[in-house]
Symmetry: C2
Subunit: 453 residues, 2 copies
């Protein structure tokens, strides 16, 4: 039988064809009209798992979008790895900025362009193809369980309940996830911690109806101006979040820990150039990597109010809205922070307006110990495939459900992600390098060679 | 022949039927797709003028929406009144807040509900019906010219050029306009001054693409946060606009002038209740009426950026936008203020973003002398119809083109408006009281009895 390297070479065209079937399914979890696509995508994954040779695979309904579960039990006495991934994707707007339609995957310059190409269909599919090879070659010395959900991008609202109901079925020794990035194509890294997330929507109401800005302008609190003022006050001149109690549970890293993380190569000029900005901005006293890795922050993700059409309309809107998210570090509780935010935001509202704060999803941050045997297996695998020892890194993003899985199943997750910054996930022209896709498959197969260690 | 009062009573149903034809035409000047409706509405007005008995009426094309002109020359040696009005209307969004479709006029509780019911089709149509009566009864002792434009709501961009090209045809002694409000149904008033307007659109660009807020949050300037910060800085803690040079040309009113304007009845509790706010807000040291009548201000009329759909999206938008207008008082030049704003806004932008400021339409403020004979004629007419002497007032809104007409034709406009605050023009459920419509017709006919004085 061929090596994994040659197996990938021989089958690459087929792998991509199969992945494209998934990518053509517009599984946008946040939009109700895509519910049938969610079901279709789940069915496609069951088929893919069965083709790969698992014992059984099945779609499980939830109160939201369905969960896919499949397993291959080699020997019940062997250790078990639970692979987690998600088949839902982010919305695609603004559509006009895509160079090719988001759900018609295209290959350009060695990369796959499509919504979900990386996040997370492309990365999830690497595991299915690694599994296919390991089952074909009978190389597997552990049991595999696969858990693919359809609500990661909207906060995995229904997964923890489902997991709690299926604790025995999901019992495992390791959770393996590919849903993160590496520092660079030639700077392999393993994510050893991620931030948590508290996400809220705010509504500021001033007058009980839209007003003519000529007749009322200057004499009433304009909800848009007020919302801007309130948002501005949420971050002080040192870049710190002003929500009362926000930093209470934040653990300051030791100088040693900060030095270790600073080993990750980072070129600020390149960073600025890659996103087209002249200057970076953030909390005083921390580097850019620290600002996204070990420090919490607050960002407005969306804002709207008043007249946003063509031309001019002289109106004072009755309401203004914003979506605001806070990235949290381990030890900050997302529910507590969302509550602190709501209290603070209500407290600072001027008399002329009323505010409403609605929490969206949230999630806890978490840490993976670098000293754990699974981290070491992953490190060896990647070292072998890339020829370079991977760097431990901290991810700024959140996979809220992972912290919950850790809680419920009592097992730490290992984040072996193969995405790159250039993939612009969540944005127009999301992509995934084919070389990362194939190296990912190879690395996963190698990981299982060193596992269980 | 009957009096104007009985003529209105006999013909009211027909008047409303005829007005409804105009109201059913969705002449939204700011939306390109309504261009054919603009032409149709102009044709309807020509028909209405001819039915009323004018010598000639005609649609004139412009670079934008057409102008309607009609005239009745009784005797070239008689003085001439130019009636100005506009047949274009504001957009109708948010559509879901309308109790009945905006372009299907309905009568409820003695009021007409439709977009344009008041602003300005309803008020413009009073003049056509007054004209019909005066021509039928041969009561007119002056010449009448009617100028109806289709771009008032978008800044009358093409009217001044057209007026400049037709100065002889438009030659007149008085400009009469009904496009403003009275202080109340039982507090008749005549508008003796209006604010000017400078309207701009701003675009703030941070990163060159949308970014994942987890990966970048905390380390880059978020354009929405920055826009909020910049907007907030435009108004200081005393409610004053911080744009450098903004107040340079503002003339402070004398204590006497302020006392005269303070005679207009104003109930702050009622005012707050009518718009559903607990507290008013504005420039320190001025009353609510002064804040809208004699003081300039700055309002955000619309804001948008990032994800504004259902649910949550963890994105840092590349761009954020706002529409910002400044109401100006007489002596402030709108072009100068727009320029000062652009310079200021560009200057205060932090390094992490780039800004673009695009001016929309603008207009100068103006004043009508209370001592003028035409003001006195209007005052007598309204006194007779309402049984109460009208109060002179200052309007917060803008009819930019009136200041330009004044410049080009060398004649002051007289603002005899019959709208009420309750009509919520520019908002959902715009309405116009039938009693104001009929009293308006009556007042106009009386005005011409006292004109020329």
């Amino acid at each position: 039988m061929s090596t994994i390297k040659s197996y990938i070479e021989e089958n690459q065209a087929r792998f991509l064809d199969e992945l494209f079937v998934l990518l053509r399914t517009p599984s946008i979890s946040s939009l109700k009209e895509h519910a049938p696509d969610m079901q279709r995508c789940a069915d496609q994954l069951v088929e893919a798992l069965i083709s790969a040779g698992v014992d059984r695979a099945q779609v499980y309904p939830t109160a939201g979008h369905p969960v896919v579960f499949g397993e291959k039990i080699i020997d019940p006495s062997f250790p078990t790895v639970l692979i987690y991934g998600h088949y839902d994707v982010q919305p695609v707007d603004p559509l006009n900025l895509w160079d090719s339609p988001p759900f018609e995957p295209q290959i350009r310059d060695g990369a796959i362009y499509a919504r979900g190409a990386n996040d997370d269909k492309g990365q999830l599919f690497m595991h299915i193809k690694a599994l296919e090879y390991m089952l074909l070659t009978q190389k597997l010395t552990c049991n595999i369980k696969c858990l693919f959900e359809g609500e990661e991008e909207i906060g995995s609202a229904n997964l923890s309940a489902w997991v709690s109901d299926h604790v025995d079925m999901l019992a495992c020794d390791t959770i393996l996830v590919s849903d993160t990035t590496m520092l660079g194509e030639n700077i392999p890294s393993i994510n050893c911690g991620m931030r948590g997330l508290a996400y809220v929507e705010v509504e500021v109401t001033g007058p009980n109806k839209d007003l003519h800005s000529g007749h009322y302008g200057g004499a009433v609190a304009n909800p848009i101006n007020v919302l801007c003022r309130m948002i501005t006050s949420l971050i002080d001149s040192k870049g710190r979040v002003t929500v009362e109690g926000f930093y209470d549970d934040v653990v300051e890293l030791s100088a040693e820990d900060r030095a270790m993380l600073a080993r990750a190569p980072f070129d600020e000029e390149h960073y600025k150039k890659s996103i087209g900005v002249k200057e970076v901005e953030g909390e005083e006293g921390y580097s850019s990597l620290e600002r996204t890795g070990i420090r919490p922050c607050l960002d407005v993700n969306g804002i709207w109010g008043g007249y946003t059409g063509e031309g001019a309309k002289t109106v004072i809107a009755s309401k203004a809205f914003a979506k605001i998210s806070m990235r949290l570090v381990p030890n900050q509780d997302n529910k507590k922070v969302a509550r602190l935010f709501a209290e603070h935001f209500t407290r600072i509202a001027p008399l002329g307006v009323q505010v409403k704060v609605t929490p969206h999803h949230g999630g806890q941050g978490f840490l993976t110990p670098i000293s754990s045997p699974v981290y070491k297996a992953a490190s060896q695998a990647i070292h072998e495939v890339y020829g370079i020892e991977p760097v431990p890194s901290r991810g700024g993003g959140s996979i809220p459900i992972l912290a919950e899985l850790q809680d419920i199943l009592g097992v730490s997750p290992l984040l072996m992600g193969f995405g790159l910054e250039r993939d612009t996930i969540h944005s127009p022209n999301e992509s995934y390098l084919i070389s990362q896709f194939t190296k990912g498959i190879e690395s996963i197969v190698k990981f299982f060679e060193y596992y269980p260690v």
